[in-house]
Symmetry: D2
Subunit: 312 residues, 4 copies
């Protein structure tokens, strides 16, 4: 991540201002407000604004006239109860807004979460920066042999070098041609007075999917947690998980009680099917159940044993 | 509207607090934060929280690093351009949360707007207050003779008196029976130790639709304006319009530039159809178009003449 | 449920028509298409239209050119995999539309599910039927003493009789007054030429919440299953559960493979928290864990033992 | 567009089937069901399924028991009234599903419409086809000099040739390297046994934004029309407009009455602001209003004169 001096100055100026408010305010989140938290090689997330705190969840659940909070332990108990029993609407009453810089192929996964507000930097209107995501060597994973939608071991040696060279060269070349077709540089200066320049909305099609874009993204706490439960999960692609993990840290600052409940009941939990539950009860009753006697398919049996942390 | 002393105290306490924040803050809205603004006979709206201001719209449209604002006139020009051309996503980047007390039949119209977050006071869990909406005499309208979905002249004399008496008596009687069936009063005190009391989730079915309920309602600025364009409109039922008009005043305090653009381009504007536009062009060219020569149906012709403020 | 002869004839006429289509068609669902399935005392659900079948889920998951289906067992395996791993978007590719007659207090719970399309019968425009929900004696439950949002034992004797009488009388009286204020009967005939009649949009406020309304309600299979997982659940209020259970039967006819996967992985399953899972692993390893040694609160411990079907 | 023989056969097979249904069926749409309608150089749209017809809009608006339709002219009048007065919910009661092949940069614009269901071909899981969008010479537009988000004249001569060559070469080269990094061809055959191959989810980042992807996309009639009003509009980028125009033709087959109302009241219409309307009334009263005497900014004045088809 390399912010320009001008961008750094804009952020510093925004951070320097402080005014009084009657609204619910969270000092631990204010501390990092506007600051760019690096993700991947050139990306970042920045918390731009927020509404509400842990108490706002309680207040909405109680439809109260004042702050609506009681003893700390009672409020925490209510939040944990709501999370455990999937009473989701009170968590919709807090809102957060991020500024995110991210590779286009990550943006394409991210945007599938529809319950959010988005303003993306427009490549119809402006010229994109010369920044591409190139995986660090330890993330240059081979295709998984057993899971069509997964990664295997890390590439090494010549193959790794060749891949990195291809990614770098192709991104650089297609970007240079993008600028050439536009006939203007990143700052919008015309290159060759004798040419017209291709329309920006067309020239952008020459860019590769690891080019960085950026957007403002705003959502409520419930939908944010749903997003994070999927994208901070081990099955998510590493690149979007890197963003989700950075965001999870901001959630911890913002709504620590909700964050803890989320880690206990959602992230670290497991869903057992009706047949799985029946088997579990047999096991607790002392029966030595095997895949054969379980009635489950091999795949489901393995998933169940994995969930229970047993050799299978 | 009659808040209890306890409610007044809770609100006063919330209003008394002030802490520093780095967030965009709007003094004119802070001034009324948490305060109950009366609507109808026992209802109110209260602004509970907000995120963003006019500048947040500009900032999102520009995907900027800092506040993103320039000269005041330039920012206003951008907001007006976005409103005029229905670029709606930047207006989704500001958010507001209300606490509303409203009759159930109004709540049923309101909830049809799905792009909002809602937490309603639960009559499965709690006992509702003894408050019903009774129209003021000047709003006791007869059924319109020409519009099946509209109001005609105001009822007067005996008919008005009879209607008001029926509304009052039925609401009071059904509420009293609700309390009797519950076997507990508004404060939850058991009435008759010899009875069990009907489940709250069942007893509520005896209440009339003018009973007041309350909820927390949160939405973004774009969807709020869409709601207001429909519900502050002359075709909306008076009772929900009363809420919309009170909310429109809070929008004016919150985002004055957006509010003005909204009044100019949405509330005061008119949509002309393709055939209507063709007729208008003929009129501007000097032709004396009549309904017969217009090709429009009588109804559409009347709607067009109304829009143009002409006798028809 | 009492349909008028005219309504019966309209339904029979619609059912009599049959035309050829190239679309995915489900004979078992066609069999009951348009037919009114009774729910509660005067309500019903009717399947009005549908799009897709089990194969449509498979087809969307594979983004295929043709039907996209392979061997029956392979398709079922894919559907079960998608359900188990919460890959929800393929289930959004099938759609269903219901006509529902239901008490207003049930409609108010139902409408909280926002991801659906709704057209409700308008009491601003038309006169509502003289039909109210009166619970059958076996559903006249007392308030639960231990759960503020629940039902206890069934009321009996004098208390039950008194409650039923109150519900019946109040609904009838407020409806009669509604008609009197309107000055027109259910068929729209003016009663007293000397009166104007209160506007329909106002008169309706005198009705009680057990009055029946009706609507067209359309949603996709994923959101329908989410609705059913909450409303066919034992914690749902009996009255809405009655609708959910009737709808679940239509799902079984429509998409039998998806229905079975739903019953196995969602309805009959259980979610274990991270701390709960840790305790379970200790139990499977042979440890005799107690509430005290579990680290869980009493409430969470009881919930976990309930889930595992153990005495606690 | 070049479908493989296998894809053609799958489509032909699906089209050959016909079964009876009781559902609302539209022969004119059935005629083209499943058939690929070419868009751009390699793209297409295919109607995969639909629910409802013009009568379904009427039926929902009337919440009727049977088909709900009356005389053709009466039904058309109701549909036109609903469209004119933006009563949008009845149009949500019809649904359509498309299979679309489109360049990724078009997909990125399209996906911003959130009220739809989407299943995209997964490049985490599968290998993308070797197909890129290359604009036809007549669509190779220069950047507009006056509108930052628009196109100017068409590029010609050397500049056009150079742009086309760059687009072709870069897409081909990055695709070849994609295949090389994957170490498998489009059909999934391993290339070099001595290499592991980069994970598919990573290799895809080397592709350019004009690479074709495909998805199933399903939405209701109201949201489809909203999409088309923005994307079949003259201000939309040509490439997405090409899709919107092809879809508009399918709407015409599907719901001809709704389509005509949409063309009259939405596509061909114009929205006048409150100040614009005031000026129009002055003009109709015979006053010769100029920009100076109008009170409008130059930009707004020009927009108004354009809308009214006047020289300005």
């Amino acid at each position: 991540m390399a912010l320009t001096a001008e961008q750094e100055a804009e952020i510093a100026q925004a951070r320097a201002q402080s005014v009084p408010t009657r609204r619910a305010t969270v000092p631990a989140l204010e501390e990092i407000l506007f600051a760019a938290i690096p993700v991947l090689d050139h990306g970042f997330i920045r918390v731009i604004d927020y509404m509400g705190d842990d108490a706002a969840v309680v207040q909405a659940a109680r439809v109260s006239y004042g702050r609506g909070t009681r003893k700390v332990s009672e409020d925490a108990g209510l939040i944990r109860y709501l999370m455990r029993h999937r009473h989701t609407t009170p968590f919709e009453m807090a809102e957060i807004k991020y500024h995110v810089k991210l590779p286009i192929f990550v943006a394409r996964q991210w945007i599938r979460h529809r319950t959010a507000n988005v303003n993306e930097y427009s490549a119809r209107y402006s010229v994109l920066d010369r920044e591409f995501y190139i995986p660090a060597p330890e993330h240059l994973a081979a295709q998984s042999a057993i899971n069509r939608q997964g990664r295997g071991a890390v590439l090494e040696g010549d193959e790794a070098a060749r891949v990195l060279a291809l990614l770098r060269d192709d991104a650089a070349r297609t970007y240079d041609h993008y600028i050439e077709m536009l006939n203007e540089d990143e700052a919008g200066r015309v290159q060759d007075e004798g040419r017209q320049g291709l329309a920006r909305e067309l020239a952008r099609m020459n860019l590769t999917l690891n080019t960085y874009t950026q957007w403002y993204w705003k959502t409520d706490l419930h939908n944010l947690l749903h997003f994070l439960s999927l994208r901070a999960d081990a099955h998510a692609q590493y690149e979007i998980r890197a963003y989700a993990e950075a965001m999870l840290e901001t959630v911890k600052r913002w709504v620590p009680v909700t964050h803890q409940a989320f880690m206990d009941y959602r992230m670290g939990g497991v869903h057992l099917s009706a047949p799985g539950l029946a088997i579990l009860r047999r096991m607790l009753a002392g029966e030595a159940v095997t895949q054969e006697s379980s009635g489950l398919s091999k795949r489901e049996w393995r998933e169940l044993m994995d969930a229970l942390g047993r050799p299978g």
